[in-house]
Subunit: 346 residues, 2 copies
């Protein structure tokens, strides 16, 4: 809540009253002009507008907020802004909000639920109109319902906490992983491993489940499955365990970062990804096309998801009691060279 120190106030600035006096009208009229009300006479409007321009008036949205109970402000809580996928997501959100005249408070939780709680309550203090949340690993699933009960619209992005009346924009991770697995199966692979399925969040569970189901559907045994956090380091380390015993010929990875780690680990052991072992990632971050061998991966379009989420939140703010929406974006398989097939160019 409160901080201990108070900061020197800024110099007094112009108010509606000053404009009103200058233009010879009332404060209320100036207010109507600023808000583009149609109920103001043309002549009055232009007189007021030139007064505004002449005096260099700056609208005080903070003051307006107090009375109108709406801030044109949303809270953007991101689990890891330094992950390029979430940076894209953020850029997409920013675009949409900009067009709608909204501004976002940014909070980077760095996957810490404590930071996340602190940020959310700070944003409630700032009276944001809504919240865009990509929940940190280990988030208490009840918070979305809590916020909903307190009248604060929330749109979950990607990870789904399981509340029933929750707005959500996500990706059909199962479909994505299924496409990737089927591609490997079509190429003739029989032993297909999975790296990075150890997390409890929904994207992780979905991908691992789709991996198992698809293999089962084609009569193949699953495994080995190596749990690890999605970092390059852990991905590289996972390769050690991957090569123990009956060696797989292909690896599906939880995400691209993970896949980079695996390719790195393979290279360090003298194996060439795409030739000695097929590798497929997930997310299609910018580096995927750049890497050599270029990474076959599943594209989910971070920017697009951000745009969808921002639009959904704006709709929800306008209609708080509308039916919850769950938007699921279909992913695409982007075939490059890390899986040993010839790249297609769609």
């Amino acid at each position: 809540m409160g901080r201990d120190i108070s900061i020197d106030p800024m110099p007094r600035s112009l108010t509606l009253k000053d404009i009103a006096r200058h233009a010879g009208v009332s404060r209320a009229t100036v207010s109507l002009v600023i808000r583009n009300s149609p109920r103001v006479a043309k002549e009055t409007r232009s007189r007021v507008q030139s007064s505004i321009a002449a005096l260099g008036y700056v609208y005080d949205r903070a003051a307006a907020n107090l009375r109108s109970r709406t801030t044109h402000t949303i809270g953007l809580v991101v689990c890891e802004i330094t992950n390029p996928f979430y940076a894209e997501l953020t850029a997409g959100i920013d675009e949409v909000l900009d067009r709608a005249g909204f501004v976002a408070f940014l909070a980077n939780t760095a996957e810490s639920p404590e930071r996340q709680d602190r940020f959310i309550s700070r944003m409630r203090e700032h009276k944001v109109d809504g919240l865009l949340l990509s929940p940190a690993e280990g988030t208490d699933p009840s918070i979305v319902d809590d916020m909903h009960r307190l009248g604060l619209p929330v749109v979950e992005m990607l990870r789904h906490l399981g509340g029933k009346n929750a707005d959500h924009v996500g990706v059909d991770f199962r479909l994505g992983m299924t496409l990737a697995a089927e591609h490997l199966i079509r190429l003739g692979h029989k032993r297909i491993a999975f790296v990075g399925g150890g997390r409890r969040a929904s994207p992780s569970r979905d991908r691992a489940a789709a991996y198992r189901q698809t293999l089962a559907r084609y009569g193949l045994a699953a495994g080995p499955v190596i749990d690890c956090m999605p970092t390059r380091e852990e991905g590289a380390r996972a390769v050690g365990r991957l090569l123990e015993g009956d060696r797989p010929t292909a690896v599906l990875c939880y995400n691209d970062i993970c896949a980079f780690g695996v390719m790195l680990g393979l290279a360090d052991r003298g194996l060439t990804p795409g030739r000695d072992m097929a590798v497929i990632g997930f997310d299609n971050i910018a580096e995927a096309a750049l890497y050599r061998p270029a990474l076959t991966t599943v594209a989910v379009g971070g920017r697009l998801i951000g745009q969808e989420a921002a639009n959904l939140l704006l709709r929800r703010i306008k209609a708080p009691d509308g039916a919850p929406e769950m938007i699921v974006m279909p992913p695409k398989l982007i075939v490059r060279s890390s899986c040993g097939a010839r790249p297609n160019h769609h």
Copy 2:
């Protein structure tokens, strides 16, 4: 009218007055408790605090802002959030602001001065206490001075617009480029090219200048210099012109993204970076260590710069009339394998 048993969908939000009544004190006292004033009796304080907890009160910072003329809010205007370097910068800023109880409005200008102007005026309307600005390409240099005159503290990050009373946190790009060039010269290179110097912003000018000066200092002729935007695509395309005529043996690049493009372009022509041509980047983004060959580059520590900038802005907000500070962070050369030398492990 008016006798129905209507259940409020959203309970009216609590105010200081409600807490005051519940705790049997005045509004002013509750306010003092919230702001940790020492002038409240211990017993009163704890009584008020338990009332706050019991009723689930949420402090309304927006209302407080109006009276106190300070919002504990800053504007963060970033030129391209999807560039991993700026994502790191943002994460560093977020850390510092969090600890100080500030929140940032995020704006991603995507290098558009028009978007930037719009964002800045929107933030002025929201009465931010200060601005962290990494100016978009082509920003009108006068805006920093304008904001200063209007009483809004601004800290420039990285690019320097040239105003005299401007706070600025940057990197000694000249030193960084000098270190890189001297490293290549020590390795025996005589024809050293430069790719990506075409932009007008200060980081670009500084790097290109240091390149020329260092070569001159060692009696070497500069060139070829290929102008291009810092994208992978343009970097790759630049390789074509690089190989025309008298072929250089080493390339200094404007930044890592550019260097990745160059390496890609070399590989596409059957040349191996680090063996057939030395390549050095700039920024040390996360992918630099990951790429093969791993990229030799100059590290400037985006996160650290963000932290310094945020701290400087907080100082400036506390003391608006203090002397302007220019903080220059020294970069380090990170030797990996793309320049053909054995990596050191410092």
